[in-house]
Amino acid sequence: MTQSIQLETALTDRRHEWLAKLRELGRELWRDKAGLIGVVLMTALVLMALVAPWIAPHDPAEQDLTARLRPPVWYEKGTWDHVFGTDHLGRDVLSRAIHGARVSLLVGLLVVVLAGGFGVVMGLMAGYLGGRMDAFVMRWIDTQVAFPGLLLALIILAVIGPSLTTVVVVLSLNGWMVYGRMTRGAVLAVRQTPYVEAAEIVGCRWPRIIFRHILPNLTSPLLTLAILEFARIVLAEAALSFLGLGIQPPATSWGLDVAVGKNYMFMAWWLVTIPGTAIAITVLAINLVASWMRLISDPQEREKQFARHMTRRLRSKVGQRRKLSAGQEAIK
């Protein structure tokens, strides 16, 4: 019995291992500057979206017709009250950009969760159960991929009318197929592995095998895909809103602001540029994070990275030693 007590205590005090792993990850992130920038930007964006009402200097919908089309602060006519100026209704551009992050990130998150969840479940079933289920799901995906996404979006939006919910639904319907295909492929590979066979032989039923043995081993590729999809969705939401099919005023969205701003492009360039830059920075940050994720989720790549780092250090050490001895010789 002492055996099992030892086992239980060992089970409970393994937390420090997690900390060590996290620290290791932090060190690697520090070395990979691009990934670091991505993670920092991403964190900042998320924080900004979360506390938008408290940090935005103005209510994004607050109009002030007396202060229309004010330029940013560095122009003669700019004021510190409107750092990035105002739009044609006198709304504060900075506040709108800050609040716009909320919509972009919310839509991105919801769509990734919905489309990802549905796609992964379909892919898992197709891949593991095979046979008719597989044929059905794959034909469905093929059909939907062949159908133009924008057309589908237009039809749905025409029928139910544009709103945040509709945007999410439309983008999810449009985006689950990638997850489905990728999951199916990965499942087909993982289900051949001996540990899945072992689980079957031990008497596990298929849901347990799928969710306990197969799915956890797909997390890193799926996570990378989800992050890349997130970037795509942010762009897609902006595009829909730009076309007037997405977020409707008085709500704020970067895409919407760009659409409005384009009418004043030559008089007030900041109206397009500020939300446009916000979109660009967000997408860039997400992509940086995604490439870093892909790197660290590949153990071989990770080892190589480390080895490169080590040899650089070793070489510089050897170099220093050489210089030192050369210096000593010179002294002699």
């Binding site: 019995m1 002492t2 055996q3 099992s4 030892q6 086992l7 239980e8 060992a10 089970l11 393994r14 592995t193 001996p194 540990y195 066979e197 072992a198 689980a199 079957e200 032989i201 031990v202 008497g203 596990c204 039923r205 347990r208 306990r212 043995h213 956890p216 081993n217």
Partner: protein, 330 residues
């Protein structure tokens, strides 16, 4: 098998054939290709007995083991377990069988889920069969199992990557033992292990057999290990059993030319002895599993081949008490 025998063998296989679909060939795809993985295999295994199964890679050893575990579809033939026919067992019946027969894998690295702790891996059979409700209840039996296979007490809390090949193989054995099976298919369980570790695992398997009256189908290509652990040995060639006999009979007086070649090919770690040994090396190619020849499968490499060998398949016939071989000219 005779009617006077009081208890039926634990496992009985009669005329087992397994063919795998291999697509189609020919311009119009008119020819259906199938891999003749196992053909006409007969064998029995009694409780507490080890049957060694030896043959070159691709000869159908794993397929035979998996067919008995009902993991691959049986193309023809019948399989009994404890006197009950399981050839056409359904999904739930096979699940029930998993409490009686288990598999130990060759690859100690790929056969453990890298994301699960050892306790999760070893407790899984108990949980899915409802023998324990949760991990907490499983801690005691798992600790007993881990101790039994010779792992440290805190092993359960760690992940597979923290263990060496030999230790992982012990974990795989603990998992297979969890349901207290009567029969274990050990598919090359020590082939991937180093010599010094191999003996540890073989000894463990033998101790467990004595303790729980286990029966093994011990698949291997290392004849020396097989000789050590087995009571009887079956030699497979290209999907067929060519000889089956008690272990000393096989080693002292092999009948089939292939058995002879196999035995003479194993080097002995003793230079003077090895230099004095006569090697019987047969040239020629192994038969194509998609198009096995008519007659004896060994004909392309056999020095004794005659016309009859090319026309008719030699039956597995008893040569001495307990020694069966399939050869026309021996």
């Amino acid at each position: 098998m005779t009617p006077t025998e009081p208890t039926p063998p634990l496992v009985q296989v009669e005329d087992l054939s397994v063919y795998f679909d291999a697509g189609r060939a020919g311009f119009w795809g008119q020819e259906r290709l199938k891999v003749h993985a196992v053909e006409g295999v007969n064998l029995e295994i009694r409780a507490g007995e080890t049957l060694g199964l030896v043959g070159e890679s691709g000869s159908g050893k794993s397929t035979t083991g998996r067919a008995i575990l009902r993991r691959v579809p049986v193309s023809s033939g019948r399989i009994w377990f404890r006197g009950k026919e399981i050839t056409h067992a359904g999904r739930e019946e096979i699940r029930g069988l998993s409490r009686h027969m288990q598999l130990v894998f060759q690859d100690p690295y790929a056969s453990l889920n890298p994301r699960l702790k050892i306790i999760d891996i070893v407790a899984e059979p108990l949980i899915v069969h409802g023998l324990v409700k949760n991990l907490h209840e499983a801690a005691a039996p798992v600790a007993r199992l881990l101790a039994r296979v010779g792992l440290p007490a805190d092993a359960g809390a760690r992940y597979p990557h923290a263990f060496s090949g030999g230790q992982r193989q012990r974990i795989g054995i603990a998992r297979a033992l969890a349901l207290k099976p009567e029969f274990i298919v050990a598919d090359e369980p020590v082939s991937a292990l180093d010599v010094s570790i191999r003996a540890q695992v073989v000894n463990l398997l033998q101790d467990l057999q004595a303790e729980y009256d286990l029966a093994y189908l011990f698949i291997a290509h290392d004849l020396a290990v097989v000789r050590h652990i087995s009571h009887r040995i079956a030699i497979m060639y290209a999907g067929k059993i060519v000889e089956i006999a008690g272990r000393d009979q096989i080693y002292d007086a092999p009948v089939h030319p292939y058995t002879e070649a196999l035995l003479s090919a194993v080097p002995v770690p003793d230079p003077p002895v090895q230099r004095a040994r006569r090697r019987i090396a047969y040239s020629g190619e192994a038969p194509d599993p998609l198009h096995p020849p008519v007659g004896c499968r060994f004909q392309s490499r056999c020095p004794l081949v005659s016309q009859q060998c090319r026309e008719k398949t030699p039956p597995l016939a008893e040569r001495q008490s307990g020694q069966w071989a399939a050869c026309w000219n021996r």
